[in-house]
């Protein structure tokens, strides 16, 4: 396990050095996206009004408050990623996103895109919204406001983490590894419980 402290935008080299089980913290820009953001982006073919090249995207629907022209944070947490798996290969291949942040992981198609284009999946600690909200220093912009709370959010973050590299650009998938290992142990566990 190696700990990395990175800055956005991420270079391909910075991302390719990461391996599953490594820990990442980063400073800079973070984009917030959710189910509806990506339906709008891909199914309804709206091009993002800002470049996502080299950037990280997090699966979130933030609680924000609007004060005049400015958006202020109430609580920003992370949701389950698997629901949004089908958009992820295009997010990486078409728009150059280098890191997808969420909980629970993504599937094989996303893993293949990460290998091809140089991207990673970073697992955040679910339920830890209080910490996440503190690490988000500012809401710099909200694009596609009519989709709020599933718009496209541009956050500025400081020491954002800890994030565990759960899918890397070399075909490594930590969730699959952990699941396969648990599966291997199941027969012995059944035996201990007296299950035939």
């Amino acid at each position: 396990m190696t700990e990395y402290h990175l800055e956005t935008p991420f270079s391909e080299a910075a991302i390719r050095q990461l391996r599953i089980g490594d820990i990442v913290y980063f400073n800079g820009t973070l984009f917030g996206i959710r189910d509806l953001t990506q339906i709008y982006m891909f199914d309804q073919e709206h091009k993002p009004p800002v470049s996502l090249e080299g950037m990280p995207c997090i699966h979130t629907a933030p609680s924000l408050r609007r004060v005049g022209e400015k958006w202020e944070k109430i609580c920003i947490g992370t949701t389950t990623s698997t629901r949004m798996d089908r958009f992820s290969p295009d997010l990486i291949g078409k728009y150059g996103v280098r890191a997808i942040i969420g909980k629970g992981g993504l599937y094989e198609g996303s893993l293949a895109a990460m290998e091809k284009y140089g991207a990673v999946y970073l697992a955040i600690v679910g339920g830890a919204a209080a910490l996440e909200t503190q690490q988000i220093e500012d809401i710099e912009a909200v694009y596609w406001e009519h989709l709020h709370p599933e718009a496209l959010y541009q956050f500025r973050v400081k020491d954002f983490g800890p994030l565990t590299v759960a899918m890397d650009s070399h075909g490594g998938h930590l969730f699959f590894d952990v699941r396969d290992e648990a599966k291997r142990r199941l027969p012995e566990i059944y035996k201990q419980l007296g299950i035939d």
Partner: protein
């Protein structure tokens, strides 16, 4: 005696929701601490560090631990000496939950099941979930509030086995349900298990199991033994905190039981995430309110 003011129930229902969201019960904190001490995997230890930082920030800033403020559940126990009006209690609990959402304010998650319209109130038809129970000697009203987030609630499962399947089918069901849940319910939390009853009662038992303070065992030694065996089995899978691998996959397995039909062998699993949130209020007839967990 002066007329009881039901505003007290409404205020308590509001305060309980907010308290539960911001202040994790001491037994859950203690269980997380013990779990973290036992954890040996470096990645898993990082997850625990983030968990403790989160709790610390929520304490300091009086803020939400998790953005999923869930669906509100109120478990009410009415002492037979308490002068009560059930309709008033029900109405005030609903108002209190709605006021918590609007006044804090936080994101409401209650949604019409077909139109998916969210009124941003945390309540609606059938919500909050309210359970009424009655106690013999007391003159007070106990309200236990549980905000139930969706990551863990979505992993709920129940099955009507037959008596011929035996106890081993129940154990296997628990292990397999936890295996399938993976990282989704934000482990390590509490695995609530209901055994017996009818189809509806068995899930309610599982729900009652997740609100039992961590560290308390079922009073029946045989059931308690089964809790320990299942805890060890689940941790032996090695799925770890947030499913990233590690020694600790659950803080506790809690089982609640009820008599069932001679032809039935029902089981239900209701999972609770690591922020196992709950809060409690005891309301006396003179209007005094004592808060706890």
């Amino acid at each position: 005696m002066e007329q009881f003011d039901y505003n007290t129930v409404e205020e308590a229902a509001k305060d309980l929701y907010i308290r539960a969201l911001c202040d994790l019960p001491p037994d859950v904190r203690e269980a997380l601490k013990k779990a973290s001490d036992r954890e040996t995997q470096p990645t898993a230890k990082e997850v625990f560090k983030a968990i403790f930082k989160t709790i610390e920030i929520a304490d300091k800033n009086k803020t939400l631990i998790c953005q999923d403020t869930g669906l509100p559940i109120y478990m009410v126990k009415i002492g037979c000496g308490f002068p009560w009006n059930g309709y008033e209690i029900k109405t005030r609990l609903k108002k209190g939950a709605q006021r918590a959402t609007l006044e804090f304010p936080f994101r409401g998650s209650s949604t019409h099941p077909l139109t998916r319209v969210n009124p941003q109130t945390s309540v609606g038809e059938g919500l909050p979930v309210i359970y009424f129970d009655y106690t013999k000697d007391e003159d007070y009203l106990d309200i236990l509030m549980v905000p139930k987030g969706s990551g863990s609630e979505n992993m709920s499962s129940m099955k009507m086995f037959y008596p011929a399947h035996g106890i081993q089918a129940l154990k296997k069901f628990v292990v397999d349900t936890v295996f399938e849940s993976g990282a989704n319910p934000c482990p390590p939390g509490i695995i609530g298990v209901g055994i017996g009853g009818t189809a509806d009662l068995v899930m309610r038992l599982a729900k009652e199991a997740i609100v039992r303070p961590v560290g308390q065992r079922h009073p029946d030694p045989e059931v308690a033994k089964m809790e320990v065996a299942l805890e060890e089995a689940i941790n032996a899978m090695g799925r770890g905190p947030m499913g990233l691998g590690g020694d600790i996959s659950t803080l506790a397995v809690h089982i609640e039981t009820a008599y069932t039909h001679i032809t039935q062998n029902p089981i239900a699993v209701n999972t609770q995430c690591w922020p196992a949130r709950r809060s409690k209020a005891r309301i006396y007839p003179d209007g005094r309110v004592a808060y706890g967990y």
